[in-house]
Amino acid sequence: MSDRGPAPGRARGKVIVCRCEDVTLKDVRHSIALGYADIEEVKRYTGFGTGPCQGKECHALIAAIIADEAGRDPASIDPFTARSPISPAPLRLLAAIDPEPEGDEGDEGDDDTAEEHD
């Protein structure tokens, strides 16, 4: 179990697994039981990883729980899509950026699924 971090299977009582959004271990298991078992689905059903830390604290723990519940190898669980900005950014800071700089070739952005690029 050492490579999986904490051992969620042995936890007792009400266990908060995402502190930003108050998501519990029970919430995660409920999502999986309903058929929302992919990490992207668990994120949406429970709201984990959508708060100020954007999953930086809870992501690995919840991936380990999903692996545990499904009996899958943790290495087979891909992380959910990282969202811009990397850290919370004030609107006035973003507003100071020229959206159409001279000579800009266009910005495709990072994709949800890198394999979509061709």
Binding site: D38, R44, L94, A95, D111
Partner: protein, 406 residues
């Protein structure tokens, strides 16, 4: 990269509800478990037709249904769209009770702001038509808009229009509500199960070849959103829509202060405060034809610039996350509904140009009524696949929907 194809098959085969392999036969196969496909499947089952299979290539909220801003408005420029949305709003009001899930629906209204005389004329014309249909839409002087949202900087704003019965909702629970109730009535929903081919069956109907098995369907519904053309091509049908990336972002949660969804016509800026307290919004950018869901700095910079100009007090509020989804853009800005002339029993439900989510509650009811032998709603004539999509598409003012904002 330009226009990329669908993702490589990731056929991991999950299911909502019963599970097990799909049946050999079904009355209806729906392709796409977005809000359209699920609304149709739920409404079919609620009318007694539960022999329905839904195939979804990814997860439930992976497409545009999980990526939109949650706006639900009745302010449109054509009467048919106003009436459809009046019905949708009524359905949204009862959704939590009917489907047993909290969709966080809140009727705070929609406030549109005009910066030019032409925009004012548009708003006045639309408001008069909406009033005839019974909406409480009213045109306001800038001071009237200020009363509704005191934080607005109305420099350069000539007029506004407000309908207090428009609103916002949280899109994801809508999908869960439709899916769970449909599954409880016997609909079989397969996620992570791509459809790889559709063949016409000799005795009528279609063989839908999915990653989980083949189903002989009497009727097939293509509700694959921006991917609808690819599904239609499997039966040799051309669909004249294309994917346009639309970006959105969300802020840190704030104490509730903003009643309506606010939209500025000139820039296409729109923003609302969700029930979680976040400011969620987007802005118009030059259209990019792509399935890419990447986020761009150009979007964040344009959005922030417009938003801070209009609501200076939001300057210190932080953006937490940005994402994108694909509009299914049709040539005349209206959806494409029903069977194409050369593919009987193959029903299109696509081309909603970013407004499918809000229209799905009403569209699902009308589709299910029709397919279970009930009345055929007028939208199936107006939005028929066989209409002209040539250069003059939507040239008649009463047929052109010009209120596709954002």
């Amino acid at each position: 990269m330009g226009l990329a194809g669908p993702r490589p098959d990731a056929a991991r085969g999950q299911s909502i509800g019963a599970g097990g392999p799909p049946p050999a036969r079904a009355e209806v196969v729906v392709i796409g478990a977005g809000v359209m496909g699920l609304s149709i499947a739920y409404n079919l089952a609620a009318r007694g037709m539960s022999d329905v299979v839904v195939f979804e290539r990814g997860y439930l909220a992976e497409g545009a249904s999980g990526r939109n801003g949650g706006g639900v408005r009745q302010q449109w420029s054509t009467e048919l769209n106003v009436r459809l949305m009046q019905q949708s709003v009524e359905l949204c009001r009862g959704f939590a009770q009917e489907l047993g899930v909290n969709v966080w629906f809140r009727q705070g209204g929609y406030l549109f702001l005009a910066r030019s005389a032409a925009e004012v004329a548009r708003l006045e014309r639309n408001a008069a038509m909406q009033a005839r249909l019974g909406l409480p839409t009213r045109v306001l002087e800038p001071a009237g808009a200020q009363e509704i949202v005191p934080e607005l900087d109305l420099t350069g704003i000539l007029a506004a229009v407000f309908n207090p019965s428009d609103g916002i909702l949280f899109p994801w629970p809508f999908l869960w509500g439709y899916a769970q109730r449909a599954a409880a009535m016997g609909v079989k929903i397969y996620t992570f199960t791509p459809v790889r081919g559709i063949e016409r069956a000799a005795g009528g109907g279609y063989d839908v070849v999915s990653a989980a098995g083949t189903v002989r369907a009497r009727r097939v519904i293509d509700a694959a959103g921006a991917w609808s053309p690819e599904v239609a091509r499997m039966v040799g049908v051309g669909v004249p829509t294309h994917p346009i990336r639309h970006e959105i972002c969300s802020s840190e949660p704030l104490k509730p202060f903003l009643g309506p969804m606010v939209s500025e016509l000139q820039s296409g800026l729109y923003f609302s405060q969700s029930m979680r307290g976040e400011i969620v919004g987007g802005v118009s950018l030059p259209p990019t034809i792509t399935y890419s869901t990447g986020s761009t700095l150009r979007f964040l910079a344009t959005y922030a610039r417009r938003l801070v100009a209009l609501v200076p007090r939001l300057g210190n509020v932080k953006v937490l996350r940005a994402w994108a989804g694909a509009y299914d853009q049709s040539p005349d800005g209206n959806p494409i509904l029903g069977p194409p002339p050369d593919a009987p029993d193959f029903y299109l439900c696509c081309g909603f140009v970013g407004h499918g989510f809000m229209m799905a509650p009403a569209v699902g009811v009308h589709y299910a009524e029709w397919l279970t032998g009930g009345p055929r709603h007028e939208m199936f004539d107006r939005f028929r696949p066989g209409r002209s999509f040539g250069p003059d598409a939507g040239a008649e003012p009463e047929e052109r929907e010009d209120f596709n904002i954002g």
